[in-house]
Symmetry: C2
Subunit: 346 residues, 2 copies
DNA sequence: ATACCTTTTGAAACCCGTTTCAAGATAGTT
DNA sequence: AACTATCTTGAAACGGGTTTCAAAAGGTAT
């Protein structure tokens, strides 16, 4: 039918021969880069459909120095936050005719370096990376494609764009919310402090404590479900009177909930709980999780667009900061929420 | 330091000039494709490190007709099953020096076609796709790279490998488990019946019903959380005496649980619930979800390896079928599980 | 020292779509 | 009719790493 027989194997020179024109003319017909005589155009179109010719993207990419590809480097695909980010980025990219090359570092710094080099050598049009590792500075400087750092921030800014949420403010909002909900004994479960977002969230919490002369109570944790379980057990040993927990992200908040539930501790009656990110999970859980939502869709879209529209204002690199938003659900005691519950149930 | 200054911009010809050898020799040093005089080798290595030369993957790919890339086409990245599959595939690929090009079809058939063409024209080394759409036959035939179809199956087998779970048997196991747990009034929430896996699961359930002379009770649903909520509401209208629900996947099982919970229906005391897949979610939920586990890691690994080792036995295409496994957790009443609970709590 | 074989090496072709550049063709002007 | 301006078109170069092939170099045997 549509000539798929030999299909993709045909080359532009074969098509040209069949249409009795030059390869240049075929190229012009395909890309509309110049006017072509109506007769010849027809012959070319016919030859293309007969052979099922699909131009080789690699050859095109070699010449154009653009693979119409965005490299996406994340610490962990399994983390639902990055999954959702990847999803938005893929959608945005696809809308603009770009593809996504997905790279998972598994939090290994060396991999970040080799992946940046690899993506550059593949003529990727840009890289979106989540890292706060200062060591990659040289690699970012060396590769001459636009780089966007998402979700995190370097101490010293590099020559790349930053797209992230105001995690410091998010930390403050979370702390204040628990206090407003009546918590007297808050414990903050921190994410890894070499990760800028985790550190900023902690600092937000910490500054609220200082402001209100509350004693800081923290636990160290990773962005990981299993670690979250263990840390929560420890937490309950160390702070048996806890009545409010700030978890470093939603995944860990779920760990916390599971441990509390197993021990028969009621949420939010006995302990209130707040997470970060507002990944889809947060709504699936029962009770639904109160959390500081990141505008993941906006972050991903912005990051992708910065690369796609790189021509626009590549002069000075910028920092785009989005606001996190408190989403009150069922793991904290909020008066408004209770009111809302009542109207819904009536 | 390591010559990242001009870095990646250098070409093999520049390196050759600097080392006073031919580009061919540089290539040979880099790839170890032939012996090179020790002197020259040293000069080349020095020139490479001075220029920070990284070979252009696109040029290499053009000649070799291999981009060391696997295309991954999934219906929806947001679906945790595919996320986990992507994660394993990425890991396996990375171990073998391959990259992943991630494509999301959003269940749009046309996109499958263009993405297969696109990946082929990018010299991808193979494609892993989840589809049961017979229309793509021509496209699969036309592209001369190995294709692996995961999770689903075509009515008429095409010339590609199949890697999937025995969904039919899974459906049977789920039905039998609920019956063994004492359910008298089971309703099966079916996934879209044009998707082979959903259909097979239904048929498994159906055959158990026939075998035991139980009346079939089904609802139509999609693999979607929101749709799941609505369908569950309908289900409770239509079958108020239901005491066991088979959900088409874990995500829908969670929808079901949420609706039951909101209505004050106790799980598993009043209604027992089983899902499919055993995505990470299933363990995060409270109560933890009983489900038919797919060996996602094995499926993904096998699929990736089939492409990476395509040289091995590309002669006749094969079908690799894995067994699903019942994982009893907290949404069904299993005696063994109760026993286990008791020992754990004592 | 000569003939012969093996190994190392570089020039050039190759992969294939795009673009440049100049020639050829058409249209328009005087 | 002669000439200029404009458009269409194909040959050839390009991008950059790889491989082929034949020449050059090194080594061995006679």
């Amino acid at each position: 039918m549509c000539g798929l027989g030999r299909g993709i194997l045909a080359s532009i020179r074969e098509v040209a021969k069949l249409a009795n024109v030059s390869p240049a003319t075929v190229s012009r017909v395909m890309n509309g880069t110049a006017k072509v005589d109506a007769d010849k155009r027809e012959r070319v179109l016919k030859a293309i459909s007969e052979t099922g010719f699909v131009p080789n993207e690699v050859a095109r990419s070699l010449f154009k120095k653009s693979a119409k590809t965005i490299g996406l480097i994340v610490p962990s695909i399994d983390n639902p936050f990055f999954t959702q980010l990847a999803s938005v980025i893929e959608r945005t990219a696809d809308e603009h005719g770009y593809r996504i090359l997905l790279c998972n570092t598994g939090n290994m710094v060396e991999k970040e370096k080799t992946m940046i080099q690899m993506l550059t050598s593949m003529n990727a049009d840009g890289i979106i990376i989540t890292t706060s590792n200062e060591e990659i500075r040289d690699y970012i400087d060396a590769c001459n494609i636009p780089i966007v750092i998402t979700d995190r921030r370097m101490k010293k800014l590099m020559k790349c764009d930053y797209v992230h949420c105001d995690h410091y403010e998010g930390g403050k909002i979370a702390a204040r919310h628990l206090i407003e909900c009546g918590c007297k004994n808050i414990v903050c479960i921190n994410g890894p402090q070499d990760v800028s977002s985790a550190k900023a969230r902690y600092e937000g919490y910490s500054d609220v404590c200082k402001e209100l002369h509350i004693k800081e109570q923290c636990m160290d944790c990773d962005y990981d479900f299993e670690v979250g379980l263990a840390v929560t057990e420890e937490l309950l040993e160390k702070y048996p009177e806890v009545d409010g927990i700030i978890a470093c992200n939603d995944m860990v908040a779920i760990s916390v909930y599971k441990v509390l539930h197993k021990r028969g501790i009621k949420v939010p009656e006995q302990v209130q709980l707040i997470g970060f990110d507002d990944v889809q999970l947060a709504r699936l859980l029962t009770p639904e999780l109160t959390t500081i939502a990141q505008p993941i869709d906006e972050i991903g879209k912005k990051a992708a667009e910065l690369i796609i529209n790189k021509g626009e204002c590549n002069a000075d690199k910028q920092e785009y900061i989005f606001k996190g938003q408190l989403v009150v659900r069922e793991t904290t005691n909020n008066k408004k929420e209770e009111l809302h519950e009542k109207t819904r149930n009536s």
